[in-house]
């Protein structure tokens, strides 16, 4: 009996923080929160837009039961509105117009009619109100002492096809509500953030004689060429320090994986396979994970940077054609149905190099472009289902998915 107990304890301890294991039921009840708007400025349309954005952000935190009702309150009233009297927390905010089109927001968090946290925010243009609501949710999460959601403040860069061989590169917030076209004109694809600070990015242009990797400094707007290759050129991943890149190039017509040092400008071929090797991602322990057609269909493989030995990572799915990695975790896209053409389902799955578990992260539709957040806490992806597109956020530790509908055209590639 003692032995059995010890064994159970050992299993619990070993797998306690394994994200591949799904949390089916949480024993503790999460606190409730309601939102009260005390704004006197702005019209109802804008007020509702802000309220909805804040409500969505609070939901994505996954630490509250968020009340969906829109309530109006007096900012300085010491009591919460009657309907919210049973709520564990009430978030009250007041939006006011500043100079130019500036938006000022004051917020306070009340717990049983007592103020427990307050903060003020300001943005120069009210059209970027969503960055305020993301910052508010981030701060409340910090106040509650939960693991950081700094990815909420990060930006997404994506390319969108607007016509055959015509594309735009766009910078957006994590819900893609705010979209700013940063590069237009021409055929520019596969954008990738060049550093942690997100003040520069790489992209591939297909307008030159050969596919060429370009670097853009966002502040100065300067663009310079990095490296080009006949046939194909993609920057698949950037190392944490920003000094090394994983590229897919085809210098002899063969798509293979190369590493490239941006300081020395030297490149090194990492794979030699007569089929297809693409989509390399840095993992921990000097390893990379990539997509290869070694089995006659696309699947996930890994190799160490210092040896040529290649290891198959996934033994499930008929076509696993894209992946993203963080530490020991890999999220990949798998085709679930064998029919090549009718109503295919593509789901995202999570595996760890430490265990044999596979966790299915989505259930319906075509789910693609999975990207880990920098801290590995969340995964962003695009979902296409019944003619509707949405951006999805998966909170791995909370076993929750959130979708934000998208109105725009086809996304070609995305980085977070």
């Amino acid at each position: 009996m003692k032995l059995l107990f010890s064994l159970l304890m050992l299993i619990c301890v070993t797998y306690a923080s394994d994200a591949t294991i799904e949390v089916i039921k949480k024993a503790d009840v999460i606190p409730s929160i309601a939102v009260e708007d005390a704004s006197e400025d702005y019209d109802d349309t804008f007020k509702m837009r802000f309220f909805k954005s804040l409500n969505a952000d609070l939901n994505v935190l996954s630490i509250f039961n968020v009340d969906r009702h829109y309530r109006i309150a007096d900012y300085d009233d010491s009591n919460v509105v009657l309907e919210n009297k049973d709520m564990d927390y009430v978030l009250r905010y007041d939006m006011s117009e500043g100079d130019g089109d500036a938006l000022n927001v004051s917020m306070k968090l009340l717990q049983k009619n007592e103020i427990v946290f307050t903060k003020n925010y300001r943005v120069t243009n009210r059209e970027i109100y969503m960055f305020v609501s993301h910052a508010m949710a981030y701060d409340i999460n910090e106040f509650m002492g939960e693991p950081s959601v700094s990815w909420m403040k990060r930006k997404v860069i994506l390319s969108r096809i607007v016509a055959p061989r015509k594309s735009e590169i766009i910078i957006a917030d994590y819900t893609l509500t705010y979209q700013h076209i940063i590069l237009k004109g021409g055929f520019n694809i596969f954008p990738k953030w060049a550093n942690e600070a997100q003040n520069a990015f790489y992209y591939t242009t297909l307008d030159d004689a050969k596919p060429t990797l370009k670097y853009v400094d966002i502040k100065s707007g300067k663009i310079h060429s990095v490296i080009s290759s006949d046939g194909m050129m993609v920057c698949s991943d950037v190392s944490k320090d920003g000094k090394n890149l994983l590229l897919t190039m085809a210098r002899d017509g063969q798509p293979d994986i190369y590493s490239y040092n941006v300081v020395t400008k030297h490149y090194k071929r990492l794979t030699h396979y007569r089929g297809i090797d693409v989509n390399a991602q840095y993992m921990s322990n000097n390893r990379i994970v990539f997509i290869s057609s070694r089995l006659g269909y696309p699947n996930v493989f890994s190799k160490r940077l210092d040896t040529d030995e290649v290891e198959q990572m996934v033994y499930y799915g008929r076509a696993n054609s894209a992946c993203s990695a963080h530490g020991n975790y890999i999220v990949y896209k798998a085709r679930e149905t064998s029919n090549a053409f009718s109503k295919n389902t593509f789901n995202l799955h999570l595996i760890s190099t430490k265990t044999d578990f596979i966790r299915r992260l989505t259930a319906t539709g075509v789910n693609e472009f999975p990207r880990f957040s920098k801290d590995g806490d969340a995964i962003i992806f695009i979902k296409n289902y019944k003619g509707q597109s949405a951006i999805g956020i998966i909170r791995l530790n909370y076993n929750k998915n959130y979708l934000f509908p998208l109105k725009y055209g086809r996304i070609q590639s995305m980085d977070w």
Binding site: S78, T118, F143, V234, A250, V278, S321
Partner: protein, 179 residues
Amino acid sequence: MKSIVLSSVVTALLVFSGCSSKEPAVDSKTENVSTPTSQEVQAPETETVSTQNSVVNAGTMTMSEIESKLPTVYFAFDKYDITPEMQAKIDAAADLGKADAAKSLNVKLEGNCDEWGSDEYNFALGLKRANAVKKALVADGIDAKRISMVSYGESNPVCTEHTKECWAKNRRVDFKLLP
């Protein structure tokens, strides 16, 4: 002003609540939420070499006339091998490439895919298709130096309906002549 009011409210609450043990976390500073850059970067202008008006002196055919005689090579789903039917088309293209009128011209092979897949893998598949055609042309006696390749993945469709026939039309390699 607002933060002064806030601070007063908070202080008042603290004073009047008396034995309240929980100290409110007040951040009186206003956070300037970093705004994304408003700058727009314009892609550098790229000169497109028009193939329509160039006239090839040797022989009587213009470049666009030769290009119109070049085939489109089609492929099966997720495949990049050349079928016998397509091989015959490539052989004919190689013969045309060796003709006097076309001898001085180079060709760019553009690999394309259907919409099933929007990843790097799809771009690589388009490239493997272009490379398969290049190998077949070289085997037919065309100088490899005259051939360049590019893959457009799924982003250059000739047909945008969501049908089997349409997808088949998009899994192709196009020939584009360069002077």
